[in-house]
């Protein structure tokens, strides 16, 4: 009871803070007031007590479901609402959503669990407690009705937000009993539905957040406007590890709109002006002197040397070992060896990094697009120099995340450090695309040497995979490492778990020689399965060809112990018609992978013309995520992951010169367009019994399936990405 009371008060506090102009502060005209707005903004001025942390029901039967994870396009908001609503038994057409704030989560003992939205965890990491949240609320609503009628709860049934007393036929609705339900103690135990009884989970319902995205009404972080707000443009030292030496603000101080030129931390300078365009124009004119620091000579070539050394070095961590790969390779009838390479890549979210902050001596508020509100709050408090209880973060809709806005809140810290120099004034910091391209947390760079051995029958008897390159965890989260090993490096190649290898290789050794160049790495949609699936699935294809075997048959021989992976592979082969000839000039390639606990496979169909021009005609993709909460959104994610993965395959490369990223914008870091988009045939085949991820797994199979199809078409085995660097004309 006490908890609820506290929350009600904080809800009212927030309303006052955000909607009353003049009274200290206001979000003003362009506050996001849509369904996925910040907490309480969506529920207007009524302060209806919540039924529980997950559910608020208005007197008019509007159901507000609280969503802790961030919506960034992946559909999690709708899927999570479906999970709660399934157990709540509410009228889906009356469902709205809202985000609780990270500060409220902290104050309430993290009642909403983790806010982290990454690793394809949104649904699979919280399905149990959000369904329980819905079920508990349902029981409390029924109990309130039963009490009012003075009948046993067992005599009541519920459907579509209507409670019926079965013996008498009396009915009431959730909206009528919600206030009374809010006064009750929650039941200690609830039973969750058997998946076979689900009515809403598994349905291709429409997203809850579409309409505002069609009219310009949807407010993204970059769109925030507040009365009295100033705008900041920033430049950090382009050389990684470099520092800001000095800047000559006299040159720009009198330019239109300029209010202040400020140092930000030890490596950046920002211009604060009335409009962002004024700030950016002045920043472009600002003379800045950098101390380039210790990495000024780092280049793609010097990084390449580090990685090459790691391919042969004695020191390496073991990620997977069975049998004796060395012995098996020495005794093999035929061995195949190949070295692959995967470059740095930027997330390049469409919305550049941004955050809006307002700082005073005893309070700091931040509005930002973030994949992890709690991490954003932590970052804000650190930069603000205030206790976390005096800070708050309001999550604003993200214009893409892909991992860039989860583990890193450099943009939040910068915004707070700027706002700190203008106490009481809200300041919106927006990065230029150029800043975004040069200050990413890049997909890490690696190389891999693979050696495989075949016996006289052409079966794989041994495989040695040596990865050399960058660890994400060593830079981002050393606490997740064990004994210095970054197990994430081995995603898709591990003996078991969410990222297990899909094959049984009799003698297998997978190693990682960690080589960490001074370029900041980060989690990038799919993380390490992007390159590991290319390495393994391309090389399996090489081995099949060396053995003179069909790539599908060769894989199947290794998959007897991996029935779910085999099932998705078989499904794509069947749908693509692997056993029948492709149309004239079209060639096929396969790939399979287990990632983020889901089993995925793809069959790509490509052609390459005499000029070496690639056309990807179609990709048939299958995914077994265990349970499929919203199949039409899964289709959207599969297609979307292919755009992200194929853009990386075709164009994605950040090169390093003088310790800086050479690319600046979408002209030299291109992304695929609609005219390059293949038809995508999605097979969703949930087999039940586990919860796998959706947003990332299929990205793994797009690139290797296409690379294997290119080999089938041209006889060229491509071992380095992106393809823009390779002449695809037939060998």
């Amino acid at each position: 009871m006490m908890n609820r009371e506290r929350v009600d008060i904080s809800r009212r506090d927030f309303l006052i803070r955000t909607t009353t102009a003049g009274a200290g502060f206001s979000l003003g005209l362009y506050l996001p007031l849509s369904s996925a707005g910040v907490l309480a903004a969506g529920s207007g001025s009524s302060a209806v007590p919540e039924v529980n942390a997950w559910v608020v029901i208005e007197p008019d039967d509007t159901v507000i479901i609280r969503i802790a994870r961030s919506e960034m396009g992946q559909g999690t908001l709708t899927g999570l609402a479906q999970l709660v609503a399934e157990e709540l038994e509410c009228d889906w057409s009356r469902v709205k959503t809202e985000y609780p704030t990270p500060g409220q989560n902290l104050a309430r003992g993290r009642v909403w669990g983790s806010f982290a939205t990454g690793g394809s965890q949104g649904i699979r990491g919280s399905h149990l407690y959000v369904r329980k949240g819905g079920a508990v609320a349902r029981e409390m609503l029924i109990e309130a009705a039963a009490e009012a009628w003075d009948v046993p709860m067992e005599e009541c049934r519920v459907a579509e937000s209507v409670i019926t007393h079965t013996p008498t036929g009396r009915t009431t609705s959730y909206g009528k009993v919600a206030a009374a339900a809010a006064e009750l103690f929650p039941p200690e135990q609830v039973e969750l539905k058997n998946p076979k009884d689900w009515r809403l989970i598994g349905q291709p319902v429409k997203r809850l957040d579409t309409v505002d995205k069609l009219t310009g009404k949807q407010v993204f972080g970059a769109d925030l406007q507040m009365p009295g707000m100033l705008n900041a443009a920033i430049r950090a030292c382009p050389t990684f590890g470099g520092r800001l030496k000095s800047f000559d603000q006299a040159k720009v101080r009198k330019m239109p709109g300029v209010r202040q030129v400020v140092r930000v931390g030890d490596d950046a300078v920002a211009v604060v002006a009335e409009t962002w365009w004024q700030a950016k124009t002045a920043l472009d004119a600002l003379p800045i002197d950098w101390d380039r620091g210790p990495n000024a000579a780092v280049s793609t070539a010097s990084i390449e040397q580090m990685l090459d050394e790691g391919l042969d070095s004695e020191d390496a961590f073991v990620g997977n070992r069975s049998g004796d790969a060395g012995k098996a390779l020495r005794g093999a009838v035929k061995t195949v060896e190949a070295t692959y390479r995967y470059p740095y890549q930027n997330h390049a979210t469409m919305e550049p990094m941004n955050a809006t902050a307002r700082w005073t001596e005893d309070r700091c508020d931040v509005w930002c697009p973030t994949q992890n509100g709690e991490a954003a709050l932590q970052a804000a408090a650190e930069a603000a120099g205030l206790p976390i209880g005096k800070c708050e973060v309001y999550k604003i809709h993200l214009g893409g995340g892909f991992g860039r806005r989860g583990a890193f809140h450099d943009f939040v810290q910068q915004a707070v450090l700027i706002a700190k120099q203008l106490p009481g004034t809200p300041v919106k910091l927006l990065w230029t695309r150029e800043e975004d391209m040069q200050h990413g947390h890049y997909h890490p760079i690696t190389k891999a040497r693979l050696v495989g051995g075949l016996d006289e029958k052409g079966d794989l008897v041994g495989l040695h995979v040596r990865i050399s390159g960058q660890s994400i965890l060593a830079s981002v989260n050393p606490g997740w490492m064990s004994n210095g090993v970054d197990m994430f490096t081995f995603q898709g190649l591990l003996p078991d778990g969410d990222h297990a290898i899909s094959y049984t290789v009799p003698n297998l050794l997978v190693e990682h020689a960690m080589r960490n160049p001074p370029v900041p790495p980060g989690f990038w949609r799919g993380v390490n399965i992007n390159q590991n699936a290319i390495y393994l699935e391309s090389f399996i294809d090489e081995l099949a060809h060396a053995a003179g075997k069909d790539p599908l048959a060769f894989r199947r021989r290794l998959m007897a112990n991996h029935p779910k992976s085999l099932a998705v592979l078989n499904a794509v082969a069947e749908k693509a018609g692997w056993d029948k000839p492709a149309p004239a000039g079209v060639y096929r390639g396969l790939a399979v992978c287990k990632a983020f606990a889901s089993h995925v496979a793809a069959c790509a169909e490509v052609s390459v013309d005499d000029g070496g021009r690639l056309k990807i005609h179609r990709i048939v993709a299958a995914t077994d995520p265990g349970y499929a909460v919203n199949p039409q959104q899964i289709e959207a994610q599969v297609e979307g992951s292919f755009v992200y993965g194929l853009s990386a395959l075709l164009y994605g490369e950040c090169t390093i010169r003088d310790g800086s990223v050479e690319q600046r914008n979408f002209n030299d870091y291109p992304s695929m367009l609609i005219n390059e988009m293949p038809e995508v045939d999605v097979i969703v085949m949930p087999s039940g019994g586990f919860w796998g991820g959706i947003g990332e797994p299929t990205i793994a199979v797009a690139a290797p399936a296409v690379l294997n199809a290119i080999f089938a078409a041209t006889g060229k085995r491509i071992r380095q990405c992106p393809l823009k660097n390779t002449d695809l004309r037939s060998a």
Partner: protein, 159 residues
């Protein structure tokens, strides 16, 4: 001072003429549906119409615009969000994050202005907006569906 006709309203705006239209829309008029993403006219997030044609507002200085030219932003595409593209987009759940979608819709709308029944090849040639979430196949279906909706509506109007 710039005199611009935006979404049917004649406006006088106190602004340096070198300022790109994008920033006048976003910062001076509060029309934030038009997005900043690349700033060099490549990605298309800032696409608006000038006299019905798609232009990249991020590289168009307001001094290059005449008061007689009709500027349309996503906010002015339809009065009530029922342009055939908006209907089709809603029907097919096209957007993911949604950031590129105003520009995408404005590019598609300009295409439909000049070609009410575009082929796939027409779409490939004219809709060159970047979408990192990867909505392209639904965008394509959405344009075809919008063309059908438009045809149905004009048929009803004629009968």
């Amino acid at each position: 001072m710039a005199k611009l006709k935006i979404n049917g309203n004649m406006l006088e705006i106190d602004v340096d003429g070198t300022t790109p239209l994008l920033w006048v829309l976003r910062e001076q008029l509060g029309l934030t549906g038009t997005k900043y993403s690349c700033g060099i006219g490549v990605c298309g997030s800032c696409t608006v119409h000038v006299d019905g044609e798609a232009v990249r507002a991020c590289i168009l200085p307001v001094s290059a615009l005449k008061p007689s030219q009709e500027i349309t932003t996503i906010e002015g595409l339809s009065a009530d969000g029922t342009h055939p593209l908006q209907q089709a987009w809603e029907e097919l759940d096209v957007p993911q994050c949604g950031y590129c979608q105003p520009g995408m819709i404005m590019s598609a709308a300009a295409l439909l202005n000049e070609n009410p029944s575009p082929s796939d090849a027409d779409i490939d040639a004219k809709v060159n907006n970047i979408c990192r979430c990867g909505t392209f196949n639904r965008v394509r279906r959405g344009i075809h569906l919008a063309a059908q909706i438009h045809k149905g509506a004009s048929k009803r109007e004629r009968s």
